[in-house]
C-alpha cells in the first residue's frame, strides 16, 4: 500500500501548494495590501476603491493562471499519450504558435476596422489556428515516423507561424500594438472577467472529459494493437485526444498568449512525483501541477522586477526548459540500459 500513500501525499502536496499560491497571488504584488483588506474586498465588503480594484485585478489573474496552467499541462499530457512520447506538447509541436497566428490575424484585421473581438471570437480564432497546425502535424506524422523529427518539424512550424505573427504585429496600427505585443509574448495580465467566464467552462469541461478518457488512454499506452484488442475504439479515442488537446491549448493562447514548456515539463514532473503514468492519476495531477506551476511562474513574473513585469512565458521557459532537458537526458540513459 506504499503506492497509495505516495499518491495521497502527492495530491495533498499539490492541493496545499495550489491553495498557498492562490493566497500568495492575492496578497503579493507591486502594491501591498493588507490581507484583511483582501478578504474584505473578496467578500464584497466596502473597501477603498483602489484596493478593491487591485484585488479584482489579482483575482481574475490568479484564476486565469491556475485554469490556463492546468489546461496547458493536461493538453500536453493528452498529446504525449497520442504520440506515445513524452516530448510532445502544444508548444513544441507548433500548435500554440498556430493559434497565436490566427488570433493575431483576427485581432489586427478586426481592430483595423475598429471592432474589438469578444472572448468567444478570440477563442474561436485560436481554436481554428491550433486545429490547422494539428492537422498539418498529423499529416506529417504519417510520413515522419520518428518523434524527434516530428518535433523538429513542429518547432519549424512554430517559427514560421511566429514570424508571420511578428510581421502582422509590425504592420498593425500603432495603437493596437501595445496590447498585442504583451499578449504575443504570453502573459496573464490582460485577462478580463469576460475572458474568465469563457475559459472556466471550457477548461472544466475539457478536464472532466479528459479524465473520462483515462481508461482508453491507459490501454493506448500499450500500443495500438493491444489497445484495439482490449476493445478500445481507436479512431474515436484519437479524435478525442486531438480535439481535447487543441481545445485546451487554444484556450490558453486565446487569453494568455503562447506559454512555453508547461505542457512537457509539468507532466514529466508529475510522473516523477507519482512514480506512475496511469492517466487516471495523471490527468488530475497534471491539472493541479500545471496550475501550481503557472501560478508560481506568474507570481515571479510580476514580483521579481516589480513594478516592471516579465512575460510569464520567459519564466516558464526558465523553469520548464531545464526539466525538459533533464527528462531527455535521463530518458536516453533508460533507453540505452
Amino acid at each position: 500500500m506504499e503506492r497509495k500513500t505516495r499518491y495521497a501525499f502527492a495530491f495533498v502536496l499539490l492541493i496545499f501548494l495550489l491553495l498557498a499560491l492562490l493566497a500568495a497571488g492575492f496578497a503579493i504584488g507591486s502594491v501591498s495590501i493588507e490581507p484583511g483588506t483582501v478578504l474584505a474586498a473578496l467578500r464584497g465588503r466596502e473597501t477603498d476603491d483602489v484596493a478593491a480594484r487591485i484585488v479584482d485585478l489579482r483575482a481574475r489573474r490568479v484564476l486565469a493562471s491556475a485554469l490556463l496552467g492546468g489546461a496547458l499541462a493536461v493538453s500536453g499530457f493528452l498529446l504525449q499519450t497520442f504520440f506515445a512520447n513524452p516530448i510532445a506538447g502544444p508548444f513544441v509541436l507548433g500548435v500554440s504558435s498556430g493559434a497565436k497566428l490566427t488570433v493575431a490575424l483576427a485581432m489586427v484585421s478586426f481592430l483595423s476596422r475598429g471592432v474589438l473581438l469578444n472572448s468567444a471570437e478570440l477563442y474561436g480564432a485560436a481554436f481554428l489556428g491550433s486545429m490547422l497546425v494539428m492537422l498539418l502535424i498529423l499529416i506529417l506524422s504519417a510520413r515522419v515516423r520518428q518523434m524527434s523529427l516530428l518535433v523538429v518539424c513542429g518547432v519549424m512550424i512554430g517559427y514560421i507561424c511566429s514570424a508571420i505573427t511578428d510581421l502582422v504585429v509590425t504592420f498593425a496600427d500603432d495603437s493596437n500594438i501595445v496590447n498585442l505585443r504583451a499578449w504575443s509574448l504570453g502573459s496573464f495580465s490582460g485577462v478580463s472577467w469576460a475572458n474568465v467566464r469563457i475559459m472556466a467552462p471550457i477548461v472544466c469541461a475539457g478536464l472532466i472529459w479528459s479524465f473520462l478518457l483515462s481508461k482508453p488512454m491507459s490501454a493506448y499506452q500499450l500500443g495500438e494493437a493491444y489497445a484495439r484488442n482490449m476493445g478500445v475504439r481507436l479512431r474515436s479515442l484519437r479524435l478525442q485526444l486531438i480535439l481535447l488537446s487543441s481545445v485546451l491549448s487554444a484556450c490558453v493562447v486565446a487569453f494568455a498568449g503562447p506559454i512555453s514548456f508547461v505542457g512537457i515539463a509539468v507532466p514529466h514532473l508529475m510522473r516523477s512525483l507519482l512514480r506512475a503514468s496511469k492517466p487516471i492519476l495523471m490527468v488530475p495531477a497534471c491539472f493541479l501541477g500545471g496550475a501550481v506551476f503557472c501560478l508560481g511562474c506568474d507570481l515571479i513574473a510580476r514580483t521579481i522586477f516589480a513594478p516592471t513585469e516579465l512575460a510569464v512565458s520567459s519564466v516558464t521557459a526558465v523553469f520548464g526548459a531545464p526539466v525538459v532537458i533533464w527528462m531527455l537526458v535521463s530518458r536516453r540513459k533508460g533507453v540505452d540500459a
Binding site: K215, A219, G223, A225, N229, A276
Partner: protein, 351 residues
C-alpha cells in the same frame, strides 16, 4: 465435427487495399491448437491480424463463434479473443502487475479501476506464468524474454476463448519456449482454449499443434495433422530449400519414410548423433528402440504389437510409431505421463 470458435471464410486481407493473403479458409475448434507455418513474408502475421480483427478483411468473413467478427461490439470481442504480438511495447513507469492487470480492461467500469475479482485473476495469471517474482518490477527494466511472458500473462488475464499469438517463442530461450508451449497445451486441454499461433520452429510446431496450416505466398498451401504434413520433403518445398536440406540440418537421416513407419523390432538409427551410444557392444547388436522409443515406457498401451524377450525386454513386432528421433518429442508432448517418465529416467539413453 465439433463447433468452431474461430473461422475464416474466403478471407482476403492486406494493407492499403492490397491483398497479402488470398482466399484463406480455416477453422479452429475450442481446445485446439492451430499453428501457422511458412517462410518469412508468406502472410502469417497478416492472417493472424485479420483473424484477430486488427485488420478489416478486404473480402470474406471472419467468424467468432457463429457471428461475423466485424459486427461484434469491441468490448464483447475483447472478452473472447486476446492477442500477443511481436510489437515491442514501450511503457512508462508501469510495473509488471500493472501491465498484466491491463488485460482486465474489458471487464472494468468506466474509469478502468480493477475490482477485487480483477485483482485475483491478475494474481492467479501471474502465478500461472511464473512471473510472480517480477510483479513489482518496472516493465521497461525486464529482458525481452521476461517482457514476452508478461505480455502473455496480460493476454491470458483477458480470459479469452481464443488466443492469437504471433511468433510467441521469439525472444524466449529453449526453456521458456518449452514452458510456453506446455502451458498452451495445458490451457487448451483444461480450459478448452483455442490457440492460433505462428511459429518458425518446426520441431515445436510438431510437438504442440493439433493442426498445422502452411502458408505460402499468401495462400494456404497445406493444412492438417503435423505428423503427416511436416515430412522433410515438404518442409524443404515449403521453405524453398534444396531438397534434403531439412533432413541434413535436423540430423534425422534419409530413412525412407515407409520403411521407418514399418514394424521394426530391431532398429538402428545410424545418423543419430549419439550412435553408437553403448561402448563395448557390437554395433550389429544395437537396438535403438530400447533406448529411444518413447512408446516403450508406455507398457501395454503403445498401440502396436510386441512381445517380451526372456530378459523381460519389450520387442516390437508391429510398431505404430515412426522411429525417427525427431518425432520422439512430439510423442512425448502427446503423452504427458511419458514426458514425466522420460524426465525421471534421463540416464536411460546412455550407459
Amino acid at each position: 465435427m465439433t463447433e468452431t470458435i474461430l473461422r475464416a471464410a474466403d478471407l482476403i486481407a492486406g494493407y492499403d487495399g492490397k491483398a497479402v493473403v488470398h482466399d484463406v479458409s480455416f477453422a479452429v475448434r475450442p481446445g485446439e491448437i492451430v499453428t501457422l507455418l511458412g517462410p518469412n513474408g508468406a502472410g502469417k502475421s497478416t492472417l493472424l491480424k485479420a483473424v484477430a480483427r486488427q485488420l478489416s478483411p478486404l473480402a470474406g468473413t471472419v467468424f467468432l463463434g457463429e457471428r461475423d467478427a466485424e459486427k461484434i461490439d469491441p468490448t464483447e470481442y475483447a472478452k473472447k479473443l486476446s492477442i500477443l504480438t511481436t510489437d515491442r511495447v514501450r511503457v512508462d513507469r508501469l510495473t509488471v502487475r500493472d501491465v498484466v492487470g491491463m488485460g482486465r480492461y474489458p471487464y472494468t467500469g468506466a474509469l478502468g479501476i480493477l475490482s477485487a475479482q480483477d485483482r485475483t485473476v491478475t494474481e492467479e495469471t501471474m502465478e500461472r506464468i511464473g512471473i510472480m517474482p517480477l510483479a513489482e518490477r518496472d516493465f521497461m527494466t525486464l529482458s525481452d524474454g521476461q517482457r514476452q511472458r508478461v505480455m502473455l500473462a496480460r493476454a491470458l488475464c483477458q480470459q479469452p476463448e481464443v488466443l492469437v499469438l504471433d511468433e510467441p517463442t521469439s525472444y524466449l530461450d529453449v526453456r521458456y519456449q518449452l514452458e510456453l508451449l506446455t502451458l498452451l497445451r495445458e490451457l487448451s486441454r483444461e480450459q478448452r482454449l483455442a490457440v492460433v499461433l505462428s511459429l518458425h520452429e518446426l520441431e515445436l510446431a510438431r510437438r504442440i499443434s493439433d493442426t498445422v496450416v502452411c502458408v505460402r505466398d499468401g495462400k494456404i498451401d497445406r493444412a492438417g495433422n503435423p505428423m503427416e504434413i511436416l515430412v522433410d520433403q515438404y518442409v524443404d518445398e515449403l521453405y524453398q530449400m534444396e531438397p534434403g536440406s531439412c533432413a541434413k540440418f535436423y540430423g534425422i537421416g534419409n530413412i525412407p519414410q515407409n520403411e521407418a513407419m514399418n514394424s521394426q523390432s530391431f532398429f538402428q538409427n545410424r545418423s543419430c548423433p549419439k550412435f553408437p551410444c553403448h561402448s563395448g557392444v557390437a554395433e550389429e547388436a544395437f537396438n535403438c528402440l530400447f533406448c529411444y522409443c518413447p512408446l516403450y515406457a508406455l507398457g501395454e498401451r503403445c498401440g502396436g504389437n510386441y512381445h517380451y524377450t526372456e530378459k523381460g525386454y519389450k520387442s516390437c513386432i508391429d510398431c505404430a510409431f515412426p522411429h525417427l528421433r525427431g518425432h520422439y518429442g512430439a510423442v512425448l508432448a502427446r503423452y504427458p505421463e511419458l514426458a514425466a517418465l522420460a524426465k525421471k529416467g534421463e540416464g536411460a539413453d546412455g550407459v
